[in-house]
Symmetry: C2
Subunit: 220 residues, 2 copies
């Protein structure tokens, strides 16, 4: 059984992890027979957004606590996870990846990244363990692995594609139902809700990503 980590960033696409991407990642990991560890940082969300009105609210919520909704309570503090605990990692998207796991939503290619996440990603990459990134998460991965020349997709959004290139990596256009695989660097990405028109389209890319990450992890 390969051990795959899933990094969440809250619960809801405007201020946390994209719910469909996270759930479908967990569903296809289960189908693939993976041993899954869900994790999130124990930090306050950048902000809380009302998903009906798309307005920022006065509330304060914690990323680990809200991510626990998406994990049915079975979640670990990201800071406690080491590369040795995992055979691979998958990062679903949602604005939480760009607002809570990093500041890429506000600062683009100059954004900061959560240091525990950066450490985990760099250690996994060093150990040649596969990493998958969905939706906007490839931009976060690009920050953690800046100047490595890794190839990623975020679909066809030119601003984010340019930010990835400014970080010293490569962008490849792709549709949401497909994946981009960087075999040498053992990195897989899919655009999902960066450009998906439906949950099925996002799910198609996520299923391919999950299966490829599990296959790569099995060969490690």
């Amino acid at each position: 059984m390969v051990r795959i980590g899933v990094v969440l960033s809250g619960c809801g696409f405007l201020d946390g992890a994209e719910i469909y991407e996270s759930t479908l990642t967990l569903f296809f990991l289960d189908q693939a027979g993976a041993d899954v560890t869900i994790m999130a940082p124990n930090i306050t969300q950048h902000h809380v957004m009302n998903h009906l009105t798309q307005e920022v609210t006065e509330e304060s919520r914690n990323v680990l606590v809200e991510s626990a909704r998406l994990a049915r309570g079975k979640i670990k503090d990201l800071a406690t996870i080491q590369a040795d605990d995992l055979d691979g990692l998958i990062m679903p998207g949602g604005f939480g990846a760009a607002k809570n796991l990093s500041t890429i939503a506000f600062d683009g290619s100059k954004g900061a990244i959560n240091s525990d996440l950066a450490d985990l990603i760099q250690a996994l990459h060093q150990a040649k363990k596969p990493i998958g990134a969905i939706c906007i998460a490839p931009a976060v991965l690009s920050k953690a692995l800046a100047d490595r020349g890794i190839t990623l997709t975020i679909g066809n959004d030119s601003d984010t594609a340019n930010a990835i290139q400014t970080m010293g990596n490569k962008h490849q256009e792709s549709s949401a139902d497909n994946i981009v695989v960087d075999e040498n660097n053992r990195i897989v990405s899919t655009a999902a809700y960066m450009c998906a028109a439906s949950i099925g389209e996002a799910g198609s890319g996520i299923e391919k990503l999950v299966n490829r990450i599990v296959a790569m992890a099995e060969k490690s």
Copy 2:
């Protein structure tokens, strides 16, 4: 294209809609080519639970606003939906169904049910449109259609099964990867996280339920 409504009750299994059940319902409805309307009541949640500690918090959240997270903002107030707008209805589970859509979590078979939901269910049933219920939602459906002799499953929980029978309906045991179909009453139910050991097991039953509801709605 058949028009299927999905009734949510918040976002998170302890105080709202079960996230995996809701997402997989929407995923399989998309795969089946249905035209989906997501809805929730515009009411305050019974309470908010911290999903990491399983403790009740001091917060207050709105069912429609939190359900909007699960709908990516595309959601309607349940009170505005009529039976004529739909060819069928599916109710995912989670404690929200038993705490926000009804008081069944506290009052069992004597529990009350949201009157807009009861009206919608009764009008759909009267019009012979199919209704699907997942996890604990069959108990809510049993309340809305009390004394009709409909057959439902909530898996194998004897207290809830007894409550369904006390409401004048029938309970049939089932595993989470399967469905119980009441052809005459056009009702389909699946136990999901009432007894599922994994997201895949719940998903298997939900996929069957969605496909059966869509097939029944197409024949209407």
